[in-house]
Amino acid sequence: MIVKKLIEKIEGEAELDFSFSEGRIEDVRINFGFYRGIEEILVGKAPRDALVITPRVCGICNHAHLIAAVRAIENGYENAGTPIEISNKAKSIREFTLACELIQNHTKWFYMTILPQLEKLLGIQSGENHALKASYLSSTITKALAIFAGQWPHSSYAVPGGVACDPTYVDVMQAESLLDESIRFFEQMIAGLPLEEYLEIESASSLHRIGGDLGNVLHQMGVNGMSQMGYSHDRFIAFGECLFFKPGKSLATTVSNVDARYVEEARQEGSTAKAVSYKQRLYEVGPLARAMVGKEPIIKSLHKRYKDSLLTRVFARIHEIALLLAYNKKLLRNLTLDEPSCTIIGHDIKVPDATGTGVVEAARGSLIHRTTITEGVIEKYEIIVPTQWNLSHGNEEEKGVAVEAMVGSATTEEASFIFRTFDVCSVCTTQ
C-alpha cells in the first residue's frame, strides 16, 4: 500500500510516498519540486556575480552560500598560483556572521518545526505561539549579522580577499550587545540555565539539569520513546573547516580524514534532486554529524546511550546554538579593527582562470561550491547542498539516510516527524 503525503512548512515542500507492509513503513520515496537552475544561470557570468546569485539559492541559508562562493573563488586564486591572504579580522567577521545564520536557522527549526509538530504528534495543546519566540531570537541575531553584512537575507558582503565592511567599535559594541541579548534568550527560554552552566553538561545523566523549552522537549521525547526511534546508518561526515567544526568522518567509534574530491553526485530517476555519496557510501551531515566528528562530549555521551536516534539528532541541533553563541562571544571579544578588511585593493580586479572549491558548514551540513572560470567568465558552477546527503533515495545496497530513519514507523505522522528532524530544505535541494 502506498500513501502519498505533501509535507509543508519545511523550507519549501516535499512529497513523500510511503510504502507500507504489514502495518509498517518499509520504504519512502521523496520527491521535491521544481528545479530552478541556479547552476545554469551562473554560466557565462562574471566570476564574482556568484556572490550575488548563489545566496538566492536559499532564503534561510543564503549566507552559507555566500561564504562557500567566496571560498571557491579564493581557492581558484590559490590553484592559479596566486594565493591571497585574508586578515584575521576578515576571517573572524566572516565566521561571526556565518554563526549568526546558523543560530537563526536552528532557532526557527526548534520553535517553528519541532515544537509545533511534536505537539501535533503527541496531541498536546499548549496554545503557545512558538513562532513569536523564533522570530524574537532570529531577528535579534540576524540584526547582529547585518551590522557587518549590511542585511540578512541575501548579503554579498564577503568578497575575494576579505569583507566589504569596515566596522568601527560602535558596530562591534552593538553586535556584542545583540549577542548578549541572544544569550539571555537562550538561558531564559531555551535552556533554563546560564550558558556557562549549560556548557558544563557533558554526560547524558546530567540532561535533567536542562529546563526551559529544550528541557520540555527532551522530556516529551524521552517519555514517548523517541530515544529508540529514527535510527539511520550511524555514519557521519563533515567537510567544512570553519567555526569550531573540523572535517572528518565518523564510523562506529573512529573519526578519520576526508577529502572533498571523493564526493560523488548522481542523478536520481524521477527526481530533480541529485544524490550524493562519499566513496560510494551514504553519510549523514548536519549538527549531529559535526558533533560526532568533533567529539563533542555531551553528544558522544548521548550517542553512546541512544545512538543516532531522534532524541540525539534533535538535541545535537539545539546544542549547537549554545556552542555557536559561546564561540561568537569569543570572536567579538578578540576582534581588533586595526587590520585590513580586504587584502585585494584597487579597481582592476581580475579573478584568475582556474577551478576553485569552497566548502563550508551550513546549518544543515556541508555545503560545497565549485567554480570553473575560463577566459574571465564562469564556465561551470556546481553546488552540492547538505540536504542531498540526508535525503537521497539511496542505492542498491542501502536506503537513503532519512529514508532509513523513517523505515519501521507505524504511521505517516510519526515518519513525517522523523523526516522533519533532518531540518529538510527542499529549496536548496532543487536549486
Partner: protein, 300 residues
C-alpha cells in the same frame, strides 16, 4: 459556507518559484505579530495556520489580501499534482488586493533567467505587462526587492487594512518607498558629492558608484532610509547596490561599474548626462584633504 471567525481581512501568502527569502525577510520584522493581528491568516508557507497546503491547492480557501512570492510560469510547476499557476489565478480573482512580494513575483527576478521565455512576474515580465495585467491592475501593488524589506510589506499591509490609498507609480510600486533612490541617505554621500571613489572594498571611505558597480543612484528603493534589519544596508556595509528592486535584476558584472570613456554608463536617476558631467568637472577641480584621509586611525 464556513462561518467567519472575525471580520478581519483574510490574508493568504502563496509561493510560486522561490527561495523563500521574502518569507524569511518578513519574519525579521520586530512587530511581526502585532501586524499580523490585524488579519486572519488563512495560509502562510512557514507560520502555523488553520489550513493545510492541501486546502490551499484545492483553491477553495477565502482570500481578501493575496501576497505572492516567487516567479511565475504557466505550466510545469506543480504542487501536489496541481499546476501552481491555476490555483494562484483562482485566488487572484477572489482577492481584493494583490501584493507581489519580491522581485521574482513582481518582474520575474533571478529565476526568470533560467527560462526567460516561460518565467516572469505575475503581472510584469521585466518591465512589460503580462497578459494577466489587465485583469488585476486595479488591485495590484508591486513590492520588488530581492528580498522584500519587512517594513515595506508592513507599510502596505497596514495601509490596506486602514483603507488608505497608496500612491503608486506606473509599475504599481508605492511611491513612498520607491520614488527615492537607494542612494538617498547613503552614509557615503559626501564622497559622491565630491566625486571621490573608494580605493577598494573594505573601506568606509569613498563612493562605490564609480568603480565598484553601485547602482544606488539609479535604483528605486528606500534601503538607506528604512534600514535593513533596522540597523544597516548594503552600501553602509561597503557592498554596492545591485539594483535588486529593478525589472532587469540581476544584470551582469555586478561588482564593477560599466563606463563610457571613464564615466559611469548609467546616470543618477533623471539626471541628464551633460548636467552630471558639468557638476563632476567642477567637483573634480578641487582637492579636499579631509576626503583623502581615513576617518578613524586605529593604529595611531
Amino acid at each position: 459556507m464556513e462561518k467567519r471567525q472575525s471580520e478581519k481581512p483574510r490574508l493568504l501568502w502563496l509561493q510560486s518559484i522561490t527561495c523563500n527569502g521574502n518569507s524569511h525577510s518578513f519574519l525579521n520584522h520586530p512587530d511581526l505579530f502585532s501586524i499580523l493581528s490585524h488579519f486572519e491568516l488563512i495560509y502562510h508557507p512557514v507560520l502555523e495556520t488553520k489550513h493545510t497546503i492541501e486546502d490551499l491547492i484545492s483553491g477553495s480557501l477565502a482570500c481578501d489580501i493575496l501576497i505572492l512570492e516567487g516567479s511565475f510560469r504557466e505550466r510545469g510547476f506543480m504542487k501536489g499534482g496541481i499546476e501552481v499557476a491555476s490555483y494562484i489565478e483562482q485566488y487572484a480573482q477572489k482577492a481584493k488586493h494583490i501584493v507581489t512580494a519580491g522581485t521574482c513575483a513582481t518582474f520575474g527576478g533571478m529565476f526568470k533567467q533560467y527560462d526567460p521565455k516561460n518565467i516572469s512576474g505575475f503581472c510584469f515580465d521585466g518591465e512589460e505587462e503580462t497578459k494577466r495585467y489587465e485583469s488585476y491592475a486595479s488591485k495590484l501593488i508591486s513590492l520588488p526587492g530581492c528580498p522584500i524589506h519587512p517594513r515595506w510589506l508592513s507599510y502596505v499591509l497596514l495601509m490596506l487594512v486602514k483603507g488608505k490609498t497608496i500612491p503608486i507609480d506606473k509599475l504599481h510600486r508605492p511611491q513612498e518607498l520607491y520614488n527615492i533612490t537607494v542612494h538617498t541617505g547613503c552614509s557615503r554621500n559626501e564622497y559622491f558629492e565630491w566625486k571621490i571613489d573608494t580605493k577598494g572594498f573594505g573601506l568606509k571611505e569613498g563612493c562605490l558608484f564609480y568603480e565598484q558597480g553601485c547602482q544606488g543612484p539609479y535604483t528605486g528603493g528606500s534601503c538607506n532610509k528604512i534600514l535593513w534589519n533596522d540597523i544597516s544596508s548594503k552600501t553602509i556595509a561597503g557592498t554596492p547596490c545591485f539594483g535588486c528592486t529593478e525589472p532587469a535584476f540581476p544584470e551582469t558584472a555586478l561588482f564593477s561599474t560599466k563606463t563610457h570613456m571613464g564615466i559611469p554608463a548609467s546616470m543618477p536617476l533623471g539626471v541628464p548626462r551633460r548636467a552630471y558631467l558639468t557638476v563632476t568637472g567642477i567637483a573634480k577641480t578641487f582637492r579636499i584633504k579631509r576626503f583623502e584621509e581615513r576617518i578613524i586611525d586605529y593604529d595611531r
